[in-house]
């Protein structure tokens, strides 16, 4: 990465407060990128933004913007804009004065394209009718558009977005996402967005970082993080509900602590979309191809239920089997060739990659287990089916043996249709299968 196309380079950012610290965060964000910083509430995301802005004092580290070290520069000389979660509009100024606030300073003053740029922003963000309104009369979505226009009016090279979607009514979110995508494309400005919601990253981000307790957990393409989390925390954060502790075996399979023997992905790894494929940016409602292509169709009478559900968590993720390895994270596949991995590993299986069926599936899915339904939970668009898995199908435990006293529990997502078709209810015995490649090892 040459300095020319790195928008921001954070080197070992450390911020220490009494009760919190940001610990040695290093990140490179490319020019024009839509980068998402994710983490739960209190992870240090906003502090990281304020460190980039020059508002949070650094204990150590450096901030380099477009090749220029700005670590010691005050916020007004960094050329970075921000849209706060609560918008932080100036309450004593009307909309237009808010947007124009920064135009009188420094290099912004009277620049040539200023008027045209402003007109363009008014159009794109649909602000014309709002210009003379007082800001305390604006709705959340309107306030956000004003805050965005205000940040973009000075034509900063980078705009930071602090949880832009979380405070909004869910039905406005898609609208704001569209607006953000459009503005990002049109202005070419580097966007760095903070979010505690993985869906935002999926629908908007090129690359993302996951931060937890002030530490960077993983950086990479959004798909990469989604499919191949590097740590247990990231795995849970991105909705990998099934995480099993396991031991790698010599034949390339893995034996979980619960006694399951799982075949691991050794399939072809090429051919998948690299980075964010076209489908990666798809909007809500678009259903990607089923995770498991080789399952006999439901019409064939096997009553197999594919778990490809347009759930919020899975929306827009290309689910090709061969997940490309993005830079930064060593590829976990293919197996068996897991050299370098410790004998103790964790296995993670996305709940939407697990297929439930009445009978064992005669398919390419190399992991299949009899299971018993423990609970069914309504997750909105999907149902989470919690199953206890018997270990007899793995071959290690004698066939026909009843469920173990403490069986392994796995969660699968199914649609309501599948739920009814399979007659899934508590106590039902059924089969649970997933591809070897659906097992992520880390």
């Amino acid at each position: 990465m040459t300095p020319g196309n790195t928008a921001v380079s954070l080197g070992g950012i450390t911020v220490t407060y009494d009760d919190f610290c940001l610990d040695d965060v290093s990140l490179d964000i490319e020019t024009g990128e839509f980068f998402v910083i994710m983490g739960p509430t209190g992870a240090g995301k906003t502090v990281l933004l304020e460190a980039v802005l020059g508002i949070a004092p650094l204990t150590a580290g450096s901030v380099v913007v477009a090749g220029r070290n700005v670590t010691r520069l005050p916020p007004e000389r960094r050329g970075i804009g921000i849209v706060y979660q609560d918008y932080a509009l100036f309450p004593h100024l009307r909309v237009e004065a808010n947007v124009r606030f920064g135009l009188r300073y420094g290099s912004n003053r009277g620049s040539n394209g200023e008027a045209a740029h402003l007109e363009h922003l008014y159009d794109v963000l649909d602000l014309r009718t709002l210009l003379h309104r007082r800001v305390d009369t604006l709705s959340g979505g309107e306030s956000q558009r004003v805050a965005l226009a205000r940040a973009l009016a000075t034509q900063p090279s980078i705009v930071l977005l602090d949880e832009p979607l979380s405070a909004l009514d869910p039905r406005f979110r898609e609208e704001i996402r569209r607006t953000l995508r459009r503005i990002h494309h049109e202005t070419g400005t580097t966007f760095i967005m903070v979010s505690h919601d993985f869906r935002d990253a999926l629908s908007l981000g090129d690359r993302a970082a996951v931060i937890h307790q002030g530490r960077l957990q993983q950086v990479g393409a959004v798909d990469e993080i989604f499919r191949r989390p590097a740590t247990r925390f990231v795995a849970e954060f991105v909705g990998m509900e099934n995480i099993l502790e396991a031991k790698l075996l010599a034949d390339g399979s893995a034996r979980t602590d619960g006694g399951l023997t799982l075949q691991l992905g050794g399939g072809p790894t090429g051919g998948g979309p690299t980075g964010r494929g076209p489908s990666g940016g798809s909007s809500a409602g678009a259903v990607d191809a089923p995770a498991v292509g080789a399952v006999p169709a439901i019409g064939a009478g096997s009553a197999a239920s594919e778990a490809a559900v347009p759930s919020p968590a899975t929306d827009g993720v290309p689910s090709a089997d061969g997940v490309p390895s993005a830079d930064g994270v060593p590829p976990a596949a293919p197996f068996p060739a897991a050299e370098g991995l410790p004998p103790r590993v964790r296995l993670a299986i996305r709940p939407e990659d697990i297929v439930l069926s009445r009978t064992p599936l005669d398919s390419s899915m190399r992991n299949g287990f009899p299971a018993r339904v423990l609970a069914v939970q309504d997750h909105g668009p999907a149902y989470a089916v919690r199953c206890a898995v018997a270990t007899d199908a793995g071959g290690a435990v004698g066939a026909g043996r009843p469920l173990q006293p403490a069986p392994t529990e796995l969660v699968a997502y199914v649609t309501r249709g599948s739920l009814l078709e399979l007659g899934i209810e508590e106590g039902l015995r059924l089969h649970l299968s997933f591809k070897a490649t659906a097992v992520h090892v880390f």
Binding site: L53, I55, P75, E76, I80, G102, Y105
Partner: protein, 237 residues
């Protein structure tokens, strides 16, 4: 008390040079002291509202001290450090400033008693301004000073005016501390006291009437300014 003196006595009183001058001195020394409180107290109030630093509690306690200690003690303390026999007093004297029995002395006392009220009010005004507004102003190119004058000040000015009014009110009503530092020139409360001591209630009441009238008029004007409807530029809260 206000209605007791006859109209003729009231009219006659204000025509007395001594009364007129003492009320005028009271008002202008109080306003001058409050303006000094604004000049000295605003940066301090802002710092106290925005930053955490070691010793902040101590600073706040010292600021509140003049509110809690008896007023004559304040006068004695001021003379103690700035009287003519003490080092600070000698430095001031060499600069041509005499506190004992002078307007400078009166104003000094009034600054001491009025500033805490101003600082506390202005501080709560600045605390009510979301720091993110200032952060945003900075990212838009304003430096710290510009962000203060374009964002913090327009949003906190009501609290500052309220603090100013309280400082003036406190200064106009001050007696105990002033009487120790400067019996002469006489501010109105000292004149009222002297007339009461020398001639009795009937002679002090008309002076009191005028002091109250002038003070109330000033305060109503200032309070009206801070009410809704009055705006500075586009300021509304």
């Amino acid at each position: 008390m206000v209605t007791a003196p006859s109209g003729a006595a009231i009219i006659a009183t204000i025509q007395e040079d001594e009364v007129y001058r003492s009320i005028w001195l009271s008002i202008y020394s109080a306003v001058l002291a409050a303006l000094i409180a604004v000049a000295l107290g605003t940066p301090l109030a802002y710092v106290l509202a925005r930053y955490r630093f070691p010793g902040k509690r101590l600073v706040e306690a010292i600021i509140d001290l003049p509110i809690v200690i008896p007023h004559p003690v304040i006068g004695i303390a001021i003379l103690g450090i700035a009287g003519r026999n003490y080092w600070l007093g000698r430095i001031l004297l060499s600069l041509g400033i005499r506190l004992m029995g002078s307007v400078a002395g009166i104003v000094t006392v009034l600054v001491f008693v009025g500033t805490p009220l101003y600082i506390n009010s202005a501080k709560s005004g600045f605390e009510a301004v979301n720091p993110r507004l200032e952060n945003v102003a900075r990212t838009l190119g304003a430096n710290a000073r510009q962000s203060f004058f374009r964002v913090s000040l327009p949003l906190a000015w009501r609290s500052m005016v309220v603090g100013f009014v309280m400082a003036v009110a406190r200064a106009v009503s001050e007696f105990g501390a002033v009487v120790i530092v400067a019996y002469h020139p006489m501010i109105a409360p000292v004149l009222i006291y002297e007339r009461y001591e020398a001639f009795g209630l009937r002679y002090s009441q008309p002076v009191a009437f005028w002091l109250i009238l002038v003070s109330l008029t000033l305060f109503f004007l200032l309070r009206a300014m801070t009410m809704r409807g009055w705006t500075v530029g586009e300021v509304r809260r």
